[in-house]
């Protein structure tokens, strides 16, 4: 049942966006595909508003950093409440200039999710009404979830490496 709908969805999306939909696979039955940032809002709008898709619920929005590919992936999880189907959409951006249009034009709920993603990864959502840091202090000048930054506070003086065998 799920596979069939996923297959239909892929056909539907490919008809509409053609080459822009790529990397389609289904890990654990969850349809996942990649697209590009110039059409992402169109793809999301299509998924949200098309009667055959009806993914009207933005479950989650986050990002993943892949330093070896020099990329940051923005990941959207959408949910179709009627068909009870989830879908995952990814957009790969270059890590040096991670800009992507905002999804707040479609869902108000994307507002804080994008602010969190900006705070932690530095992804700039163009057109976002209020793109400020949300969790960290404004004075923090890095985006701490990027892989190159350490977990621990580098300014700690009381924690000597020799005690931790490193």
């Amino acid at each position: 049942m799920v596979e069939e709908t996923n297959h239909d969805l892929v056909t539907l999306l490919s008809e509409r966006f053609g080459e822009k939909i790529k990397g389609v696979n289904e890990p654990y039955g969850l349809l996942t595909f990649e697209t590009t940032k110039d059409v992402i809002i169109d793809v999301l709008r299509f998924l949200k508003e098309d009667a055959n898709a009806a993914f009207n619920y933005l479950t989650d929005l986050t990002a993943v950093h892949y330093p070896e590919k020099a990329a940051i992936a923005v990941v959207y999880h959408l949910y179709n409440m009627v068909g009870k189907i989830r879908i995952r959409v990814k957009v790969f951006l270059h890590e040096n200039h991670p800009d992507i249009p905002t999804a707040t034009v479609l869902w108000n709920g994307a507002n804080w999710m994008e602010r969190e993603t900006y705070d932690l990864f530095g992804v700039k959502f163009e057109g976002h009404p209020d793109l400020r840091r949300i969790l960290n202090m404004d004075e923090l000048n890095v985006h701490p979830m990027l892989k190159q930054y350490p977990l621990e506070d580098p300014n700690r003086v009381d924690k000597k490496d020799e005690y931790f065998g490193r």
Binding site: N56, V75, K84, R86, W112, L135
Partner: protein
């Protein structure tokens, strides 16, 4: 004194007298340590008298970098982190995480473990809703209910203690099941709870459900339409109070919830009174679920408390010391040398506040490559400031307690 007068005159700061009504807005800083907000939330409100004109929420006051820590911890060490997300109902978080990893590893659980999990998760849901509903009552002026129903949280804690030894941050279970079987005392305590709690809950309802003061304070306050709620990605009791019957336990069943017979209560107007009623009814449904699970356990083979997956489930400690094979498995699991598929998985459970999702990317290393928590409090709370517009300050306070925002889950 002169300097002050000069300052006021030069800056054109209005000086109020009895005859000219105050037309300026007053900025009110509510939080982050305000006692009425039950946690660390800051809202800077523009007030016109008692009415809120606009507000800005500031969060992050206990940002603890869960997601960054999770990238540095093996799977089994992430369970204690999930405890501290929504600490009012930690077992749901623990088991949500365990189920995420089990989904990644394709582990099929025995039915008995599923039912035991349902019991613990529903107890956790009850304890979560007790906090929220008694605090709504407390904020409307009814302290008794808080002192009265909190007693039953203690009873739930005692059950947790029998199962895992801890009260609040339970770290309950393991990837692949529970760390030990439920003992007789635990079952006896659950049965005792099932007998006593409905009596107390009925009393609690009779105190509030038709209480004139309570209804006046809550009904028709902070109404939310289903469209707005979906637009803001609300989930959990808040979304159900608006009339959308979205419950992960039903729409995407995990832990054998499909075997159970229970209702999903929905409200109509999404106001505070509806949220209170929805939560209350969910407590009744949780009691029903626990009763059913206790009944179902009788038909399951006894003493099965974990799946038979020695590759992923830690062997008993006494065997680790005496048995070579167990020692090897123990070493492999603890050192993170288990063969997990390189894949990404999203798993959601119905937490106390809504859809608690785990988005896990595994690259075959010792730790997750990326773990993202979809935290319902964080996503629910962003509507707080917009919806406070036009509300009375005292209503906004109850609105916050009815949203049951848990700071640990909000800030991660």
């Amino acid at each position: 004194m002169n300097t002050l007068v000069d300052k006021i005159m030069n800056n054109n700061i209005p000086v109020y007298t009895d005859n000219d009504p105050q037309e300026e807005l007053v900025t009110l800083n509510l939080g982050p340590t305000h006692p009425a907000t039950h946690g660390v939330f800051q809202n800077v409100l523009q007030m016109d008298g008692e009415r809120i004109v606009s507000g800005v929420s500031t969060i992050g006051y206990i940002h603890r970098a869960f997601e960054k820590i999770a990238e540095h911890r093996p799977f089994y060490q992430i369970t204690p982190l999930t405890d501290r997300l929504n600490y009012c109902s930690s077992p749901i978080n623990n088991m949500g995480w365990h189920m995420t990893v089990e989904k990644l590893l394709n582990i099929q659980m025995p039915k008995r473990v599923d039912y035991l999990r349902v019991i613990v998760m529903e107890l956790a849901r009850i304890s979560d809703h007790i906090i929220c509903n008694t605090i709504i009552a407390q904020d409307t002026g009814a302290t008794t209910t808080f002192l009265y129903l909190f007693q039953f949280r203690e009873h739930i804690y005692e059950i947790y203690e029998e199962v895992c030894g801890a009260r609040l941050t339970t770290n309950i279970g393991r990837i692949g099941g529970f760390e030990r079987d439920f003992n007789e005392i635990a079952f006896a305590k659950i049965n005792k709870f099932l007998k006593e709690f409905p009596v107390a809950l009925r009393e609690f309802e009779s105190l509030l459900n038709r209480n004139r003061i309570f209804i006046d304070r809550t009904a028709g306050v902070a109404c939310v339409t289903a469209e707005t709620a979906l637009d803001y990605s609300w989930s959990g009791p808040l979304l159900r109070a608006t009339g959308v019957d979205y419950d992960v336990r039903v729409s995407d069943p995990y832990s054998s919830y499909q075997d159970f017979d229970f209702d999903v209560p929905v409200g109509t107007s999404g106001d505070i009174y509806d949220r209170y009623l929805v939560r209350n009814e969910e407590m009744w449904q949780s009691v029903r679920l626990i009763e059913q699970a206790m009944e179902k356990l009788k038909n399951e083979p006894p003493h099965i408390f974990h799946a038979d997956v020695p590759d992923f489930y830690l062997p008993p400690k006494e065997q680790v010391y005496n048995n070579m094979e167990a020692l090897i498995y123990h070493f492999k699991i603890v050192m993170g040398e288990i063969d997990a598929p390189k894949a990404e998985v999203y798993h959601a459970v119905e937490g106390g506040n809504g859809e608690l999702g785990f988005y896990l990317i595994n690259d075959g290393g010792r730790t997750p490559y990326r773990l993202h928590f979809r935290r319902p409090s964080f996503i629910n709370y962003q509507m707080y400031a917009p919806m406070s517009k036009g509300m009375l300050l005292s209503d906004a306070i109850i609105n916050m307690s009815s949203m049951n925002i848990i700071a640990g889950e909000l800030d991660a």
